[in-house]
């Protein structure tokens, strides 16, 4: 993992030196002796095998690596102060920060609209929606709750199926007019397709086209589902879109709805260490309830 010889407390004092740019003033602010400070900074540099400061006449200036450390040290400081605040403040029930990691489409078009309602239900919970372009690493604590299209291999996580969602073929009038308003199922590869950039997919779950017809060569590719949506809307071609995204836009026409139908699942993932926190669990339950309520948006055919 990482070097446990690094003393986290030295990072705390590093922060102060980086900000004061002067060992002596940092020492005063920390109420420790400048000599101690000097020695501890050197110790930290040794444990990282790098120089963190350039000792100039103008004081301690951060090196490039010092800058890098500063970035994370600041986050550690934020966490430490949040921890302190959470613990010493009168224990407000069901309060704290919950970071939800989502994929683009589900995040922007399904969760986002209900995020604020969630915040109204739990005024003391601070929700953060994180858009990751790859799978969130719950085990690495990048988020408290992840919503993913595939189950992580990782064993140390709590996984619960959130829902199924349906995807269908959609097109816009502009393009359909060009192809006489009909899609011939036996000639799928002759149309202009909008899809993901194959080799940039972080999961096989999104390679819909291969399931339909391996001969299809997409005409417009994007790693962003929103871009695909916009492309289809502007008549660039046809493509597979989640119904919860496409159905809210009446200008899109559902095509071959009985023949072409893709079902995918979403999984709710968390870490045992997070799950037992009441506020994380509240959000978990809320999300479960939300998809239950919006079942018809996710699976229009059921």
């Amino acid at each position: 993992m990482y070097d446990t010889k690094m003393n986290w407390d030295d990072i705390k004092i590093f922060l102060e030196v980086a900000r004061s740019e002067r060992l002596s003033t940092a020492a005063k602010r920390l109420s420790i002796d400048a000599s101690t400070l000097s020695r501890r900074v050197h110790k930290l540099e040794e444990s990282l095998s790098t120089k963190l400061f350039e000792r100039t006449v103008e004081g301690h200036k951060l090196t490039q690596n010092g800058d890098k450390l500063l970035q994370f040290a600041r986050q550690m400081e934020l966490n430490a102060s949040q921890a302190f605040k959470n613990i010493t403040d009168e224990n407000i029930q069901n309060s704290g920060q919950v970071r939800i990691g989502v994929t683009e489409a589900f995040g922007s078009f399904f969760i986002s609209p209900h995020l604020i309602a969630l915040q109204e239900s739990f005024p003391n919970i601070d929700i953060e929606l994180l858009h990751f372009s790859r799978n969130v690493k719950i085990s690495r604590n990048e988020a408290d709750i992840a919503i993913a299209v595939e189950k992580p291999k990782n064993t140390s996580t709590i996984i619960s199926k959130l829902c199924d969602y349906q995807l269908q073929l959609y097109g816009h009038k502009t393009y359909l007019d060009k192809v006489m308003g009909r899609i011939d199922l036996s000639q799928l590869s002759s149309y202009r397709w909008v899809s993901y950039v194959d080799n940039l997919l972080f999961t096989e779950q999104l390679s819909y086209l291969k399931e339909l017809d391996s001969n299809i060569k997409p005409h417009f590719q994007s790693t962003s589902i929103t871009s695909q949506y916009t492309a289809i809307k502007s008549g660039l071609g046809i493509g597979i879109l989640p119904c919860f995204l496409a159905e809210q836009d009446k200008s899109l026409i559902k095509l071959c709805s009985n023949e072409i139908k893709v079902i995918r699942s979403l999984y709710l993932i968390t870490h045992p260490e997070s799950k037992r926190l009441s506020h994380v669990n509240s959000v978990w339950q809320y999300l479960k309830q939300l998809v239950a309520d919006k079942r018809t948006v996710l699976m229009p055919d059921n």
Copy 2:
């Protein structure tokens, strides 16, 4: 701020005890003596004036406050390991994590679609989009770059105007049919309005209706702009929407476009400590370029 007497390194060892649930095994894993461990855990508890563990026969079980600390301790661990990785790995130029804090509308409808392109331009930069429902506190390091509708009062931040964006009055055919397809400017308060929940606004910048006619009483209110969008779309009433959101949906009709026009600005905010990091600066520049390229989407009339 917070108690500086808290030793961050004690949080590191706390983590191990919380996970091992056993002082002795935690000691082995940390290669320090169990007695030291015991003393340091007690010291941490003292400095926080709280009990972190319930010492039971089954080992050290976290208390409620222990759980709270664990949550933040895990994040600190992630940060520490990222810092270590970033510094010890061969210095890959322009790499690292950049957290962009955005508001709902701009995040979901403007940034999100281009987020992946950004990631393609800078493959070594990890982008995180954070949706905050309030102003992001850059000074507290909640994000590396914030995009906000008003300048923060805080002096210690770097602020740069990102762009102006235009908002207009929109409605859907469903509702317009009910009011004979015309909006009478002298009778604005007689229509059904969709808007924000006044007293929940985190900034005055979003109280558009007061500027138009103080007599308007909204018929549908939501703190979520996406919900307002959906409400207007479904014919619940008319409302002010950002053009970059509404223009992409041809089913919405722009109303009184010459008479009712709201202009707002967005500001790019960062912290001096972040700004000098090359990867944060790269993203900053990218965002500047992006709004320049998409000028017409943000300000259709110019």
